[in-house]
């Protein structure tokens, strides 16, 4: 049971900065996702919380106690590695009991503890097998067993599903989430898979180039992106960005894109220059008249929906349409946006412009 507070955390490797002044708070019992493309600093952040890397500066608080310079063994945090890191020279039972042995626990207590943990994970039948012959899922369960056996304050998981088959991943992610809910321990989970993050997380931190771009609930991250990067990274296909030049003043509810007037949420900030209008594919609708004229370039049929690739004066747009909608490649159509969902961005800084939609969702907005 623990709250983790990260304050101005920074990590330099020589000239390279892996994590830049990051701050966020992980509430007690939360399933917290660190999301970002590879090399963004998410794993380094996780390793700093666990104590496998020492931060160059900044603080980490676990339950109010500053732990950033403590050795990993003194932090009461468990870590599940991407490749599981099960000790290959030991069988399953010894792997799970290894953390207990370091505490000097008696054999009898270890046996009870292992029985308990293996029951939770459903691995009683493989306890005496060597870890070499196990399937990916079982290895995963053993790795989890080694993590939960010490009843740590928090779990760190570094892409624990990355090594599994796509099919099995789905199943395992549900199992993981269920396990977390049952144990109620704070979990920090690193992934580059936005779907996994949305599906499992209570909160998500999106990182890019060593910087925290945004953190919040999956819904906030998706609906109210704080930066162009977040808007682009989350969602598939990603958000459409329509570039335009103009100025925005507080209170405004429409913007002028060339000759089109587009309704947007009420703006709360004055700015001008190169701007982007961001709209998700599912918030584009098609009609015959009076919108932005487009040519249908391609259609991707996805079962319940279809993705229409459209050529407009603002570049290529992708629209998610009902699959029943009659539309053909080569057709000329006119598109409208669901105005309540639109986010405007400054092109140079990449930041979202504050509006009634995203007000207060992230400090810099």
């Amino acid at each position: 049971m623990a709250e983790i507070v990260i304050k101005n955390l920074r990590k330099d490797f020589g000239d390279f900065t892996a994590v830049k002044e990051s701050s966020f708070t992980i509430a007690d019992g939360e399933f917290f996702m660190l999301l970002g493309p590879s090399g963004c600093g998410k794993t380094t952040t996780l390793r700093m919380i666990a104590g496998l890397e020492l931060p160059s500066s900044g603080e980490i608080y676990l339950d109010g106690e500053e732990i950033s310079q403590k050795p990993p063994s003194k932090r009461d945090i468990a870590f599940v590695f991407q490749m599981f890191a099960l000790y290959p020279h030991m069988n399953v039972r010894r792997n799970i009991s290894y953390p207990l042995a370091s505490q000097g626990m008696s054999r009898r207590d270890i046996r009870t503890k292992i029985a308990e943990v293996s029951k939770i994970l459903g691995i009683e039948h493989i306890l005496d097998k060597s870890v070499g012959g196990l399937s990916g899922g079982d290895r995963q369960r053993v790795a989890l067993g080694r993590a939960i056996v010490l009843e740590p304050k928090a779990f760190m998981m570094d892409e624990p599903l990355g090594a599994l088959d796509a099919e099995f991943r789905e199943h395992m992610s549900e199992e993981l989430r269920a396990l977390h809910d049952r144990m109620g321990a704070t979990t920090v989970y690193v992934t580059h898979d936005q779907l996994e993050a949305m599906q499992m997380g209570d909160k998500i931190v999106v990182m890019n180039n060593a910087v925290v771009e945004q953190f919040g609930t999956p819904r906030d991250i998706y609906d109210k992106p704080a930066t162009v990067f977040v808007a682009d990274f989350i969602g598939s296909p990603s958000m459409n960005f329509l570039p335009f030049h103009g100025s925005i003043s507080s209170g405004q509810t429409t913007v002028q894109l060339n000759q089109h007037t587009v309704a947007v949420p009420q703006q709360l900030h004055d700015t001008s220059g190169d701007l982007l209008l961001g709209v998700r594919p599912e918030h584009i609708s098609i009609s015959d008249s009076d919108g932005i004229a487009c040519l249908v370039l391609a259609l991707e049929y996805l079962g319940t929906t279809q993705i229409a690739v459209l050529d407009s004066e603002f570049g290529e747009l992708k629209a998610r349409l009902d699959s029943a909608m009659p539309i053909n490649v080569g057709e000329r159509v006119s598109v409208h946006f669901d105005s309540s969902t639109i986010t405007l961005f400054e092109k140079t800084s990449g930041r979202a412009i504050r509006s009634s939609l995203n007000d207060g969702v992230f400090p810099h907005v």
Partner: protein, 312 residues
Amino acid sequence: MSYSITEPSSRQKWVAGTLVITYALITMVPLLWIMMTSFKTPPDSISYPPKVMYQPSLEGYVNLFTTRTRVSPEKLASLPPPANFAEEIVRNRDMVIAGPSKFGGRFLNSVIIGFGSTFLSIFLGTLAAYAFSRFKIPLADDLLFFILSTRMMPPIAVAIPIFLMYRKLGLNDTHLGMILLYTAVNISLAVWLLKGFIDEIPREYEEAALIDGYTRFQAFYKVVLPQAATGIASTAIFCLIFAWNEYAFAVLLTSGTAQTAPPFIPTIIGVGGLDWPAIAAGATLFLLPVMIFTVMLRKHLLRGITFGAVRK
């Protein structure tokens, strides 16, 4: 029959197998000759044409371990009956056993120096290799190259400086001196081989051990060492083979207390003519420890020889 690009056909396997077995037999002929000669009597050993079938005798081994003196037939007749088979063999040649030979001591020297230097090379080599593999060491590449450079000339090229140095330091003809010398030669091999093996062990295992509540050193010997066992075993064999067989330095630097078996065995030739069975017996016994050691560790050796090329 199905055709496969990667699987050799049974015919190819058969040809390859025959070639390998033939080659193995050819390389084993000298070994076989030595072992056969060690069980011959001196006249049998020099008979021409060489005898393949003969009455085996332990005379070579008896001569190897004893010194003998010739006595007159009258003296021989007056002696009490021989107490054991060794005495009986010796008396058949009109001789009596005068005492033990130096072979036992020399053999023990070989064991002490060979295994001592192997242990020291592996001990230092493992620690150094681990440090090079895991820690950021300033000038690590240059240091590694420097360590390797000690092998870039034949060790005997520095024989004279070492000889003078050892005489000055009083390391001449001492066990410690020979152990240090062989360790110095082997250490570069040990560091480089072991670094390759340790590099292959993922860091996550140690990190997992750190998280599990172990110290860095505990993580090293409880998690890294067991997994490096293969590499350590094969490196140990290479080190032992060098230290065990080394001849030139042993001739130069040892003469008595610390003399190893290789420089001693040829000196048997000079005692009472060419005693081929005794020499062959010495060579046979000398081969055994390395052979046993290699057989014991053989399952690790194959991977050791192909180190780095084969991924787990």
